[in-house]
Each structure stands twice: as C-alpha cells, then as structure tokens.
Symmetry: C2
Subunit: 253 residues, 2 copies
C-alpha cells in the first residue's frame, strides 16, 4: 500500500483523488489546502495546517505553478519524497530539504468531465532509483501508460501539448465561427474532427496531411482567402498554408 498526501483542491487534485481511491494499491491518507472549505467534497482526512501533515510515502503537490516552490519550502518535514505535477516546471523548483520528483499526468482536465485515467500517460521523474521505482508503481496503479521523462523533455512535451491541444482547439473555434456565420450546424464537422484525431494513431502526421496547401492547389487557396473576411482568420490561414507548403517542399504563396 503506497501512502499518499495530496496538496491542492483543483481539477488535477480531484481527478487524482478519485483515481487513487479506485486503486487497491494506494491509500490517500490526507489532503491539504490553504482553505479547508475547498476540501469539503473530499471524503478523507483534511487539513489547512502544514504542521499537521500525516506520514506518507509520497507527497503530491497539485497547486498552480507559481505556488509550488513556495509550498515545498514551507513543509515541516525532511528527506521525504515530494513531487510536483507540473508539465513546465523543472524538478529543481522543489525545495532541497526533501527528495524530489515529478508526477505529471499529460491531459487537459476539466472540472466536470470524468476522465478515464487508465489511458492518461503519466510522466515520472525522480533523483534516485528507489524513488523512481515507487513513482512508477504509483503511476502504474492508475494508468496503463507510464513514461520516465526528464525535466528538459517534459518542458518540450508540455510545449508540444500546447500545439496538439490548445492550438487545435482554437482551430475548432475558428471552424465553429465560420459555420455560425453561414448558418451551418457545427455538428456536421464532428465526424471529420474525430477522424482527424483517430488517423494519427496509425499514420504519421506527415502521411496524414491532405488539403489544398498539401497539394499546392493555388486556385482553392486563393478562393478560400477571398472568402475569409475576418483579418485574423485570414492571417492564420496564410501562415499555416505557407508552413504546410514549406514542410512538403512547395513554393511559398
């Protein structure tokens, strides 16, 4: 049984708590938050007092990036395994008085959306073999996809995730805007959106690329640009078309 204390009460803390609860290998012995009221929905020992943190094998900090370093410095114990859960912060941001590690689940969590943690990759990092083994065990108790990823790699991974999640979602937003302006139900695009994501499981993105930019179909590109009245959308269309053309060795627009 791996004993865990969770710090935080946000999306990630919530999803981790629920997933650990389902595992027979993990015991969440306590949760901490600055305001104890924010923990009222969690059926577990709760505290807002750092003096009263209970004994555990792993202390998991699930607070905002800005607050991690400070919180790890305020802990009253020493030489325990303390991990943060941030994609973009180095393990070094944790205070030196404890053994340090990272437990980073790569997913975009929304509060009211249930997540199947089994498919969420968890990236772990530690500073000695034993801690690494423990984190792998802990991650393996909730996820089928556990990766050892160092701090530099993790930063790059987080950046890659901005492209494939944040920016992709913004493409959906623009698609949605174009549909509403033309009284087309956005739902028509559901199927192609899902298929585009699914394709990538079997094909490299390079092989999966289709469309006017890929085949350098200048007539269609020109027509699309004349259709776009919104300057911002036009700019994005141009720069991405150019980038695709470059990728596949075509001449610029």
């Amino acid at each position: 049984m791996i004993k865990v204390v969770l710090f935080g009460s946000g999306n990630l803390a919530t999803h981790l708590f629920r997933s650990f609860k389902k595992s027979s290998n993990v015991d969440v012995v306590q949760m901490y938050a600055r305001k104890i009221a924010s923990l009222s929905n969690f059926d577990v020992h709760r505290t807002d007092n750092l003096e009263l943190i209970e004994n555990a094998d792993v202390y998991i900090i699930c607070v905002s990036d800005d607050a991690i370093s400070n919180l790890s410095g305020q802990l009253k114990f020493q030489n325990k395994l303390v991990v943060h859960t941030s994609g973009s912060l180095s393990v070094e941001k944790l205070n030196n008085k404890n053994r340090k590690g990272v437990f980073y689940p790569l997913q975009s969590f929304s509060k009211n959306k249930e997540v199947n943690f089994l498919t969420v990759p968890v990236c772990v990092e530690a500073q000695n073999e034993e801690d690494l083994k423990l984190l792998k065990q802990l991650a393996g108790s909730i996820s089928e996809n556990v990766y050892e990823i160092n701090s530099d790699q993790r930063k790059s991974l987080h950046l890659a995730a901005v492209f494939v999640n944040n920016f992709v979602n913004h493409m959906y937003k623009i698609g949605n805007d174009i549909c509403s302006e033309n009284k087309i139900p956005f739902r028509i695009l559901d199927s192609i959106i899902k298929e585009t994501a699914k394709k990538i499981t079997n094909l490299a993105p390079e092989e999966a690329q289709t469309g006017p930019a890929r085949r350098n179909d200048k007539q269609t590109i020109k027509r699309h640009l004349s259709q776009l009245k919104n300057k911002n959308q036009k700019k994005i269309y141009k720069i991405l078309t150019k980038s695709i053309q470059k990728t596949y060795g075509r001449k610029e627009l």
Copy 2:
C-alpha cells in the same frame, strides 16, 4: 432500387462504391474512368467510353475539381440527374444540359483506410424537390447524417474543414517534430489528441479552451517562445497565442 453510375476511380469513388455495394437500396450499374485499367479492382460493369454510359437515376462525378466541368459537358445524354462530389465547387459548374446536383461527403478519405460511411455527413443539393428527395434517399442509404446544404454554405463548410482537419493535422506535425527533436515518443500525445477531439462533442470550443494563452499566463508563454528555436514554429506559436488572447478579450503579447 436507385441506379447509379460512378465516374472516377480515386479515393472517393472507391469508398462510395464499397458503401453503395453494402446497401440494398442502391445498384451501381457501371463505373467510368478515362483509363479503364484504373478500374480493374472494381467488380462492376466498366467503361472508358462516354458513348456507352448505361441508364441510371443518378450520375455521380468523383473526379478532381478541375475536371468536373469538362466531363459534365462531354456527357452524351440530357435531362438526367448529374451530381458532383466537390466541397468547394458550386453546383453551377455542371453543364446545363442535365439536371444538376451535389453529393458531398464531408470527410478526408485516404486510399488504404477503411471508412465507416454511416458516420460521414453527406451534404446534398439539387435544383428541384424531386431530385433533392432522391439524393437524400441515396445519401441516407449509406449515411446516418444527411444535410441539405446550398453551394454558398458548402464553400464555407469546406473552408471550415480546412481549419479543423488540414490545419489541425499540421499542429500534430509540429507536436511530432518537437517530440522527435527531444527524443520523446509521439505516442505520449495520443491520449490528449483524442480527448481534445472528443471534448468538442459536448462542449463548445470556446468552453473547452485551456492553456497559457487562455489564462494569459505570460511567464509560460515567454518560456515557450524561448524554447522554440525553429522560426516558423515560433511565428505560429505567437500568432495563435495572440488570436486566443484576442478571442477571450486579453491584451496582446
């Protein structure tokens, strides 16, 4: 039984042929291609001679956009229902000697990837009620999602699809490049890619947006920009971050 002749031998013609074959309401009586050899894999009457086109209820032209107008002009019969399958061409591009229509399945088809046509939306357009009814029946025999979409709407839909398919796939490509440069298996991103697409079924893209640009986290944005050595990637990161910030009323970078 709706009798159909298919013109073309590419991806779309192949997928349509297979789907029509499975339906008990449709009979593909013949396929035409300029080179009869390209039809050798189709178990159906084949011809490369426009003089020998058989009688049918609907003639479906699945050739490249550039060739549609010309081919429709070369047909030897009159006052039949001839449709094209292009997302970006107006129904008017078809020759006037026949009744005109559009049968546009909105999906990005790859040759060797089986497609479940049931979930592919088919957008139909015709110039009289009877033809429209027939096209809806035909579309309904292979798909659960049939929409009546006029030529202007279809052009916008095609443009929206460029954003949610072509440009999204390019985001995957950049994510993939960042991963390989840092020796990270791209597979780690599979789960977030699928989840991002799935979310959109229940949430508006505006509600689903997360990330540093959305919450105007300038520190992370700055760090990401310093990580990006590739000028093109940097430019894309900047313009999309700016666009997200604008969308949610934040100040510019």
